[in-house]
Amino acid sequence: MSSEPRPLLIGPISPAADGALYQQIVDRLKREISEGRLKPGAPLPSFRQLAEDVLVSVITVKRAYEELEREGIIYRRQGLGTFVSEHGHNRSCEAKLKAAEDLLRAGFREAAEAGLKPQEILDLAREIAKGRK
């Protein structure tokens, strides 16, 4: 058992934030990887260590790692640990793009339900992109 503080790897996990706790860990790690703070080949802490760091159960971190492994963003080497995979960066960008698409779709649906016509929604999107809204 070490009492050495480890560098912070991800942002805080909270039941008040969106999504299950394991999903938040998945999202935070993807963000670290897609923004390049965690590079391909970089080792990740064991799930017991990360559980200590972000104060959640071991099973929560385990589930997050399993999810990231399934998506090919990280990989596990028996006895060595868990690492960011070579394509981790691309994969997490893809995942982010997919998430952005879903959010846009939801936004368009809400706007349509509020009575905006397709052209008006596009205008609104343009305003948002320009940072005016």
Binding site: M1, A20, E52, V58
Partner: protein, 294 residues
């Protein structure tokens, strides 16, 4: 396959007004196990029986493979218990308490003890009489942890602790199970903490196990459903559907997804069914109330 840390099979104990069991519990090694249930469900009785306080009428308790009666000494050497009794007054100070207790345990880890003192913001010279309730709780946890037990059993350790103290406690419990070998069983009413920190959960009510399993799987199994029916529709009792509230044709119910209740509900006149994720606490309240209604 690692052996389980605690295995309870067919445990019963009869009291004049309460019967525990038959109860089966399985606590995997390396886990933090949340043992939950309403007041009077039998949590403390179960924990007491593990440590030989009272005799069970039937059934078996094994801790790390050791039978709780035939191998009592082996069990007690490896398992530690922290209960609600926090009376250390007779030793006067923290350091004298620690000195007294550590003499009983050959595996006492002094470096760990020193580190825990710091983490728990306790100091050797502190007088027991002036320690706050939270500090006394931390002291009793420290005395159990520094023995380096393979199995740590905590009965309501966080009741009445402030948020900061609670976080210090859970942080140390996570460190204690870091090697994947040590196990913590914790009984608590702090359901949001249990949901966040426990890997496994077992819920009992009226002396019987209602559900047990991996925390994420148990919680994800249930959904809170809102649905509508035509006026005057009555739903027969159905396993896995617990009506929480009803106002005319608008219903709220806890739904067990594993039992295929969703389809059943649609076939029986449920319309516009919308499902929401639940917390352990939502689940707990619905399950406890249903039992009362029966």
């Amino acid at each position: 396959m690692k052996a389980n840390a605690i295995e309870i099979r067919g445990l019963t104990k009869h009291f004049p007004t309460f019967t525990l069991g038959p109860l089966d519990l399985t606590v995997p090694r390396g886990a933090i196990y949340g043992f939950i249930g309403p007041n009077g469900a039998g949590k403390t009785t179960t924990i007491d029986l593990i440590f030989g306080m009272g005799r069970n009428d039937s059934g078996e308790i094994r801790v790390l493979g050791y039978d709780h009666r035939a191998s009592e000494v082996d069990l007690k050497r490896r398992a530690a218990y922290v209960g609600p009794d926090l009376n250390f007054q007779v030793w006067g100070t923290v350091v004298r308490t620690v000195r007294f207790v550590r003499g009983f345990y050959p595996d006492w880890d002094n470096d760990y003890c020193v580190r825990l003192m710091k983490a728990f913001r306790l100091s050797s010279a502190d007088k027991i009489a002036t320690l706050s309730f939270g500090a006394r709780t931390k002291l009793s946890l420290l005395l159990a942890l520094a023995r380096r037990p393979q199995v740590l059993i905590l009965d309501e350790p966080t009741t009445g602790l402030d948020a900061v103290t609670k976080q210090e406690v859970f942080s140390e419990l996570l460190k204690a199970v870091e090697d994947g070998e040590r196990t913590v069983l914790i009984s608590s009413h702090g359901l949001s903490d249990i949901e966040r920190f426990a890997d496994h959960v077992g819920m009992i009510k009226d002396g019987k196990l209602l559900l047990e399993g991996r925390m994420d799987e148990v919680v994800d199994r249930f959904r809170m459903a809102e649905f509508f029916t035509d006026n005057g529709v009555e739903l027969p009792h159905h396993e896995g559907l617990i009506i929480v509230r009803r106002e005319q044709n608008r219903w709220h119910a806890l739904l067990d997804q594993k039992l295929g209740v969703h389809d059943w509900l649609r076939e029986h006149g449920g319309k516009q069914i919308s499902l929401t994720r639940v917390t352990l606490e939502d689940m707990f309240v619905a399950l406890v109330k249903e039992e009362e209604a029966v």
